[in-house]
């Protein structure tokens, strides 16, 4: 069944969404910021659909309403950050007022707001807790020394203040970030995300993911929601404990894939004490931002998202019970099945309902390693050589080629896996 390695079949999934948006969605004509001029301006809207920001069956009106509500939630959070909220104002009263307003917006929006509402409540709780904590330790001084707002204080709790430093050193080569306003957008989106995901917190590398999103979206709140959805795919990778990082699971799968497809390099890497493929960690953590050029990375991301597209994503993210996990019924209906991305379709078709960890990214990493196979086998006499050989590839790989190769590896992997 070699036909699935054909990229045109990927595009058959990808382009209907494009054309759909071109014809039916008047909201997508927003102009692109300069650094990406030349790229179709519907990119931001396509991303929102690919990442499950909206129900694929929603109307333009429904999306607008949801968008407004989301923007409102972001505004509230940023208001806190920007000091419009002070202890003297009485945060409880202020919060109650926000809640009322949010509540009145909810019924208007209809479906897809449960999670937003829960998020709003969660945010409120965290806000209260943090402010109370700060109050208890009577540290207005904490605010002064560690940052200018509760949000800054929260981020500063990251040992070593790496968050602030990293914002300043994200994609500095792009003229886009010479504008301080754009950098502060980067900071805001980071702050909101960290605020709402305390279990994960700030992890170095997420800036690399966030930066293209900030460039693509004019509205900060829209950028946040798109980023939030993109991070859903990466959350498990960046989750860390004292002894392990989530990404190691993906690296384990990578090792499996390489072993199955061609045992030679795997054996070689094992002999060199490849420490569980940790040398490939950067590719997984920042999803190829450092290995490919900026535009090639976006190309790869979009292809991966399109291939892994699941029309139920929105329902799952928004915790809509009735629409959740109905992949089983889908498997029998070819019409519904067609709505899935090509890669995802295979898993739905085989009736596997659980989230599979061999995402297409793993196969792209495998394909990158494969391009270096010869050098690795011939020249690598130690783990240092491996890291060096892979370090050399920074920024000069061909996205399209890597992707085609990844699909071939996937085919081969499935074939071999079925044989065993």
């Amino acid at each position: 069944m070699a036909q699935s390695s054909d990229v045109s079949s990927v595009e058959s999934v990808y382009f209907p969404i494009y054309s759909f948006l071109l014809y039916y969605s008047p909201c997508c004509c927003c102009s692109l910021p300069r650094p990406l001029s030349g790229i179709p301006s519907i990119k931001d809207a396509v991303w929102e659909f690919l990442l499950g920001c909206y129900d694929p069956d929603s109307t333009f009106d429904e999306r607008t309403k949801l968008k407004n509500l989301r923007r409102y939630v972001c505004t509230v959070i940023l208001d806190c950050s920007n000091h419009k909220l002070t202890f003297e104002m009485g945060i409880r009263e202020q919060y109650a007022a926000w809640k009322e307003e949010c509540k009145t917006m909810v019924p208007v929006v209809g479906s897809g707001t449960r999670s937003l509402w829960l998020l709003f409540l969660k945010m409120g709780n965290q806000l209260m807790n943090l402010l109370l904590k700060i109050k208890v330790s009577s540290s207005k001084t904490l605010l002064k020394t560690r940052g200018s707002s509760p949000m800054d204080a929260l981020l500063a709790s990251d040992r070593g203040f790496s968050a602030g430093l990293d914002v300043a050193r994200t994609d500095r080569h792009l003229s886009f970030y010479e504008d301080g306003g754009n950098q502060s957008n980067l900071w805001d989106v980071l702050a909101i995300y960290t605020w709402l995901n305390l279990d994960i917190g700030y992890v170095q590398g997420v800036n690399d993911i966030r930066s293209p999103v900030i460039i693509l979206f004019e509205d900060e709140a829209d950028a946040f929601w798109c980023f939030e959805r993109a991070m859903r795919r990466l959350r498990e990778n960046i989750r860390a404990t004292a002894t392990s990082m989530g990404v190691q699971t993906q690296l384990g799968v990578l090792s499996q894939v390489i072993k199955t497809v061609d045992p030679r390099p795997d054996q070689h890497l094992e002999d060199l004490d490849g420490v569980e493929y940790l040398f490939a960690i950067r590719m997984s953590m920042v999803v190829f931002r450092r290995e490919f050029s900026f535009l090639d990375t976006l190309y790869l991301w979009e292809l991966m998202w399109a291939m892994e597209y699941n029309p139920n994503m929105f329902a799952t993210y928004e915790e809509l019970e009735d629409r959740n996990n109905n992949n089983n019924d889908t498997a029998d209906d070819p019409k519904l099945l067609k709505r899935f991305g090509k890669f995802e379709r295979k898993y739905v078709n085989s009736g596997k309902n659980e989230r599979h960890s061999n995402t297409i990214a793993v196969f792209v990493v495998a394909s990158v390693l494969q391009t270096k196979n010869k050098r690795l086998l011939k020249e690598a006499k130690g783990l240092d050589d491996v890291v060096q050989i892979l370090g050399d590839i920074a920024g000069n790989l061909d996205g399209k080629k890597a992707y085609k190769e990844a699909l071939k590896i996937h085919e081969k992997f499935l074939k071999e896996a079925n044989r065993q």
């Binding site: 080569h173 170095q204 950067r282 060096q388």
Partner: protein
């Protein structure tokens, strides 16, 4: 200068790690030492990166294999795996940010937990060029280094100040320990240790903080 030599032409190979908080300048110290390069556009290191450079000690060529690790605590589970086999370490803090100095203690513990007891450690106060922003005095840091029995130096990767000296001193000390150990064992150090193998400074040599810079020239 003779500093940059053919890759495989060396007598000793020493593994050295760079650790310390995020944003203290580890990656730029490494690029300054190995490529005489400083980048204003450097990004956060994800996982580990790596570079080498050879220097001369006595009549021997010592190749340093330097591992640059991510500074964020979250990455420790992964970066600590790379400490194994290290015979030297530069523990870097930023002289303008006190918190990075406060965290040195934890990094030191991390290093000692994961490496051989005789590892040569140097405390490095980077960004010494930012004189008007200095938050940690040289004396405080020196005092700490003496108590912890580590070497100490202040550097500026930007101005190429002391970077060469810092790496060279650590490598010289490792070389001194290794060759002394080999002499005591009655071996010729060059033949006793096969080429390309990482050397463990396993002996009982007392590596003290007040050693003078020795024989090496880069």
């Amino acid at each position: 200068m003779g500093a940059y030599r053919a890759e495989d032409d060396y007598d000793y190979l020493f593994k050295v790690v760079l650790t310390g908080d995020s944003g203290v300048g580890k990656s730029n110290l490494l690029s300054r030492f190995t490529r005489n390069d400083f980048s204003n556009d450097s990004r956060a290191t994800i996982g580990v990166e790596f570079a080498t450079r050879s220097i001369q000690c006595d009549d021997k060529i010592v190749k340093a294999q330097i591992w640059d690790t991510a500074g964020q605590e979250r990455y420790r589970a992964i970066t600590s795996a790379y400490y194994r086999g290290a015979v030297g370490a530069l523990l870097v803090y930023d002289v303008t940010r006190h918190v990075t100095f406060e965290n040195v203690e934890r990094w030191l513990k991390e290093l000692r937990d994961h490496t051989d007891a005789n590892i040569v450690i140097m405390l490095v106060g980077n960004k010494a060029d930012l004189r008007h922003l200095r938050a940690i005095s040289t004396e405080d840091a020196k005092g700490f280094a003496e108590r912890e029995n580590t070497f100490f130096m202040e550097t500026s990767a930007l101005e190429a100040l002391n970077v060469e000296n810092a790496f060279t001193e650590v490598l010289t000390e490792i070389y001194r320990v290794v060759s002394k150990k080999a002499l005591e064992a009655g071996d010729d150090p060059t033949t006793a240790l096969p080429k390309g193998q990482t050397i463990n400074v396993g002996g009982r040599d007392d590596i003290s903080a007040v050693k003078k810079p020795g024989c090496c020239s880069a």
